[in-house]
Symmetry: D2
Subunit: 354 residues, 4 copies
C-alpha cells in the first residue's frame, strides 16, 4: 500500500489533491517532547504554493490542524493525527484531462492499475501529498534537536553551484526564492526559471543536503542501511530521478587509496568521501547527498496525447504549475531526511543491553 | 532490524562471513512454482570468489542447500529455508585487524553501535551476505518468468561503455571476466583492473541494469514507489554510493518539453526518459538504471590507522580481496532487482476487486 | 506502536476521547468497491452512546466524515481517511481524576509508561477509539460481501443464553437494547443491568459471534493463524478478558474420537467442534467464538484510591458511563472480525501461481 | 505470510516436519548478552518427543545448532540463525494419508489453499515447528533475566488442579511427566492419559502460566495490548482453542465494585483480577492466564474419511503420537510468553524522551 514511511517513528498519509483534505498520522514520537507548532507551520509555508513569483500561483492556505497526540503543548506518546484542508481546489481546471493521459504523468498507470482514477489534479499522485511529509518532518527535527538539516538548490538546468558544502553560508538559503545559498548562482537560476516559464516550459534541478551533528551508530546493517533509507526517502519524492551520497557517481573514478578516509585519533576522519556513513551506519561525520529532479511534466503548451481508447487528441495545457520544482522541494528533502534520522534514532535504542 | 527485504515476497538473511554458515528464509513465494535449482546455483556461481583472475582468489564453494518449502520439485507456499556453509574461513587472516579500525570499513561503527564486534572478516558487514540475496533473487526470477533482467558493467574507473542499452548484445556479458557486453571496453576495463591490483589498490565502477517485459501497474504510490524500492535495494548492496534511473542526473538539464515521453496509440511511449516508471508505477516500457560502486576499501598496502584507544598504528593490508567489485556485483544487482519486482508483482494482486 | 491493525487491509487510528477529533486511515481496500456510506454510519450508530436507556447517556453525534480514497461513490485504491469529531467533551467531568488513579483503569500505567497522561476521559485508552474500528469494519463487510457476521450478547452476569447458534433467529438481535436475540433472556439481562446501574455498579458479559459463508483457505499457518488473529482482535477491545472459538474451554474435556469432525463427501464436516478453522485456516464451515468482557471499572460510587504521590484519597465517581459494556460491544466485535477476514482475504490472493 | 512473530525481538521460522531440517532467525536480541546455550537446549529437551511414557515415542534428538549472531559466547546484535535437523523422519509412516484427509487436521485446507501439500507428517502444520519457538523463547528468557515464567498443566480432561497460583510450589512441576505441580492431581492426570492412550484415543487439557517480576509499562495501547499479543501467541500454538487472563470468563459474573483492584500506596493492588495488565499495559502485578488445548486429532484407531475426490475411505491411524498434548506444551507456552515480553520490553524503550 505504500502510504507509511518509517518503522518506529512512522508516518502514514492519506489524501488526494482535490478531495476534502489531506492528512496523516505520526506514530512513535516519544512522550514529553515540547512542540513548537508555529515552527511546523513555518516549514509548511516554505513548501506552500504561491510563495514567490517563480513557483505555482495556486493559493492554498495549507494550515495544519492537529487533532491528537499533543496535550498541554507536549507529545503524549500516542499518535499525532493532523489534517490540512484542501481550500483551493478549482476542480474545473482538470476537466480537460479527465479522458486523456498527460505525457509523463501517472494518469495512464493509475487507470491501468486501479481500473479508474480520481482525475482531479493528479489525485493521490499529486505532489500536494508531500505537505504531510513536511509536517511530520518538522516534528522529527524538533525531536532530533541537535542534528541540523540544510538542504539547498545546487543546480537548475545548466546553472550549477559548484562550491563544496564546507564553504557555504546556509543563512543565505532563504534570502532568495530559488533557495540557493549563493546569491550570484541564485540570480542565474532565477532568470533561467523565468525564461522557461515564459515559454510555458519547465526545467529540472538538483537539491543538495547536509546533515550535521549526527551521533555515531544510526542505521542498520544489511537492507536498512542509513543511506539506503535516505535514498528511498528521496526517490519517493515526486519527480526525483537520482540519488547519490558522499563521493557518489564521481567516486567511481577514484582509487581506494585516495577514497579511504583516514582516521584521526578521536575517531573522526581526515577526509569524508564516505559521506558520514560506513557499512550503512553513521560514523559521526557530516552526511551529504544530492537529489536529481526531472523537469516538471505539466507544460502550459499545447501537446498531443491519447485518450482512454488510444485515439490521438490535442490538449491545451493550462492551470497553475511550477516551472521548476526544486525551490519548493528544499523543505521536503529536509523533512524526509529528518524522518529517516528520527526513525533510526529510535531503532538504535535497542542495539545494546541496558 | 534490517535483515528483511520485501513485504510479501520477503527475504530474511543471517550470517557472518566467518561463522558456521550464512542463510536465509524466503517467504511468500506462491505455491506450485517448479524450481530449477541448478539455475539458482548457477547465479550463485557468478557471484562466487575465485571465478576469474580479476576477482578475489578466496576459494569458497558456495553451495546452497534448501531445507524446506520445496516438495517434489515445487514450491509449497511455505517458507523456503536455505543455508550456505562457510567452508574457507581462514580466520587467522583477520588477527591483524582485531584491535584496529580499517579506514572506510564498518569496524569502527560496529564497535560503537554494539559495544563490540565479530572482527573476523567484516562479520555481518561482509559482502558475503549478498550470496543469500542471489539465491532468493534467482527464485524471484523463476517466479517472474517473462520479465528479463540484464545487468552489466558499464564503467570501471575512467573506462566507460557509452552505448545506449538498445544497442547492446547482452549475450556477450558473460563472454569476459569483467561482465561488460562490449568486448573492446571490456578489455580496457580488465587491463585497468589488473593494473590497480598490481599496485595493491582498488578502483570503482558502475553497474547498469535493464529490465524488460514488465507489466503495467507494479509499484505503489507515495512512499513505496517502484524506483524508490529499486533505489533502496541497490543502495543496500555493499559499496554502493549512487543510483539513478531513466534520465537520471542528466535529466536535470532537460526541459519538460524534451523530457516528456509522448504516448503512442497503444499506450507505449515514443521516448523513454521516464525509465519505465510513472508516479512510482511501471508503465510497461523498459526500466533501466545505474548503480555507482566506490573503490573497495581493503588495500594490499601498508596503511596508518587507529586502534580502539585512538592510538595511531600501522597495519599491513593482506588477504585475498577484489580489486574492483563490479564484475561480481552484476548478479547481485539482478537479484535485488528481481526481489523488488517479485514483491510488487504480488502486492499488485490486491489493487482491484475480483 | 500498536495503532495499526491488519497487514494488507490495514487500519491505523488516532485520537483521544477529549481531543479535537478521532479518526483513522484505512489502507488496502481494493479499488472499485461501491460504498454504501449510510450503512457505515448505521454501524456507528449501533455503537453510539445515548442510544438506549441501558447505556451511557453521553450524547455524541459520532458522524463520520470521509476525506479521501472515495471518488464518485467508489473506492479508488488509495487510503481512506476519515474523521469523527469529538462534540460532547465536557472535560470538566474529569477534573476529579486529574491527580488520582482510578482503580482498574489505565491512568496509573500511562503515567508510568509515558511520564504523564492526557487525563481527560481516559485519553487514548478510552473505548471511544473503537468508533474508528467500527467505521473500518463496516467497509470491510461491504468488501467481503457474502460473508455474514452476527454478533450478539449471550451472557450478562449470571443471565445466560444457552441456545446453540444454529437455533438463533438473528433478526431479533436488534429488537431489544441488550442485543440478545432471545427476547426472554434479553428481558432478564436488561433488568439485571438496570439493577446494577441503580447501585452505581456495573456487570460483565459475553458477546458471541457467528461468521458464515467463509471461503476455504483464509488464515496463515504458524503465527498468523485465523483464530489467533481473531483472538488478538477481540482481546484488543477494551475490557475483554477471554476468547474461545469452536469447542473452546469445554473442548478440553472431550476425547479426540468425539471431537474430530468427520468429513462429508463435499469437504464439509458432520460436526463442527473445530469452529470452522483447521491449522489456522478456514475450512468453509461456520466460524464461531465467544468474547468475555469484565465489568466496567467506572462506578458511580465513592471509592478510595491513591494520588500520584501514593497518598490515599477518596473520590466520588461521576459522569455518564455504561453499566454493562456488552450491548455496545456487539458492533465492535463484528467490525473487528470483519477486519480480520478482509485482511486474510487479500493475503490469500498470493497463495498460488496464477 | 505468518512465519514471523514479534516486531522488534522477532522470530521467523521455516521447516516442515519431514524435510531436511527446521530452523529460524531471531532478530533484535540486543548485543552483549552472554548466552547459556545449554539452557536453551534444556528447554528444547522439555519439548522433545520420547521424553516419558505418556508422550509420543518418536525419537528425535532435537539438537539446536547456532550458525550466527553469537561471538565469543555473547550476542552480537546481528540475527541469530539456528537449525534443528530432522533426524527421525520415517516418511513411510505417512503413505496412508497421502491421498486422504485426516479429520480435524489441516490436510484438506492446505490442499485447498495451496493446490497441493507436503503430506509427510503434517508438513508445515506439524507441531514440530514449535521447537523453533522454544529455542527463541529460551533466549528471550535469558534476555529478560528477572522476569520469571512458570507454566504448568492445570487440567487434563476432567482432572483439574483447583489451587490458586499463589499456593503452588513450582519446583514440583518437573517432578512428574504431566508437569502438574500438584503430585496428587498429577497422578490422576497421568492415569487418565494412560487410559485414553490404551484406547488409541486422546484427551484435551489446560496449561496455566504465571509471569512474575514484570516491570510496569510493557504493552501498547489500542491494538497491540499486552494481553492481546499474549492471546495471539498462545492461540498460534497448535491445538489451542481458548485463552483467558486475569479474571477471564469467570469475571463476567462479577460486579465492578468487586472486580476493581484497589491500589495500595506503592502502586500495587490489593486484589489482582486484572491479571497484571491495565489498558493493555503491565502494571507490575503478576500476569496469569490459561490456555485451552483440544484433544489431539491423530488417533490410533480406524476411522472413516474422504479422499481428494470426495470418496469415502477407511484409514487405520498409526504412527507415534501424543495421547495428550499439554505436558509437552508447557515449555512452548513459556517460550511464547517470553517472546511477547521480550518484544514489548524493547518496544518500551522508545516511550519517552531521553
Amino acid at each position: 500500500m505504500g502510504n507509511t514511511f518509517g518503522k518506529t517513528f512512522k508516518l502514514t498519509t492519506y489524501g488526494e489533491s482535490h478531495g476534502t483534505a489531506i492528512g496523516g498520522i505520526l506514530e512513535g514520537c516519544p512522550a514529553g517532547l515540547t512542540l513548537a507548532l508555529e515552527a511546523v507551520q513555518g516549514e509548511l509555508d516554505k513548501r506552500r504554493p504561491g510563495q514567490s513569483a517563480i513557483v505555482t500561483q495556486r493559493k492554498e492556505a495549507d494550515k495544519v490542524v492537529f487533532q491528537s497526540g499533543i496535550f498541554e503543548g507536549k507529545t503524549t506518546g500516542t499518535p499525532i493525527g493532523f489534517v490540512i484542508e484542501n481550500t483551493n481546489q478549482k476542480s474545473r481546471d482538470y476537466g480537460h484531462i479527465k479522458d486523456s493521459y498527460r505525457p509523463s504523468h501517472a494518469d495512464y498507470v493509475y487507470d491501468q492499475k486501479y481500473g479508474f482514477r480520481d482525475y482531479r489534479g493528479g489525485g493521490r499522485s499529486s505532489a500536494r501529498e508531500t505537505a504531510c511529509r513536511v509536517v511530520a518532518g518538522a516534528i522529527a527535527r524538533q525531536f532530533l534537536k541537535d542534528i541540523t538539516f540544510d538542504a539547498y538548490v545546487s543546480q537548475v538546468g545548466s546553472a550549477i553551484l559548484n562550491r563544496p558544502h564546507q564553504e557555504i553560508d546556509f543563512s543565505l538559503t532563504e534570502s532568495n526564492p530559488v533557495r540557493c545559498p549563493d546569491p550570484d548562482t541564485a540570480a542565474e537560476m532565477e532568470s533561467l526559471i523565468r525564461e522557461v516559464r515564459k515559454e510555458g516550459d519547465t526545467i529540472g534541478g538538483v537539491v543538495s543536503c547536509l546533515i550535521r551533528n549526527v551521533p555515531v551508530g544510526l542505521g542498520e546493517p544489511v537492507f536498512d542501511k542509513l543511506h539506503a533509507e535516505l535514498g528511498k526517502a528521496m526517490l519517493s519524492i515526486n519527480a526525483v530521478k537520482g540519488f547519490e551520497y558522499g563521493s557518489g557517481f564521481a567516486g567511481v573514478q577514484m582509487k581506494g587509496s585516495e577514497h579511504n578516509d583516514r582516521f584521526k585519533s578521536d575517531g573522526t576522519t581526515e577526509t569524508n568521501y564516505s559521506g558520514g556513513i560506513q557499512g550503512g551506519i553513521s560514523n559521526g561525520m557530516d552526511i551529504y547527498f544530492k537529489v536529481a529532479f526531472k523537469p516538471v511534466a505539466t507544460l502550459i503548451q499545447a501537446y498531443e496525447t491519447i485518450d482512454k481508447d488510444g485515439n490521438s487528441v490535442e490538449v491545451q495545457g493550462k492551470g497553475r504549475h511550477d516551472p521548476c520544482v526544486v525551490p519548493r522541494a528544499v523543505p521536503i528533502v529536509e523533512a524526509m531526511a529528518a524522518l529517516v534520522l528520527a526513525d533510526f534514532s529510535l531503532r538504535a535504542r535497542t542495539n545494546k543491553l541496558r
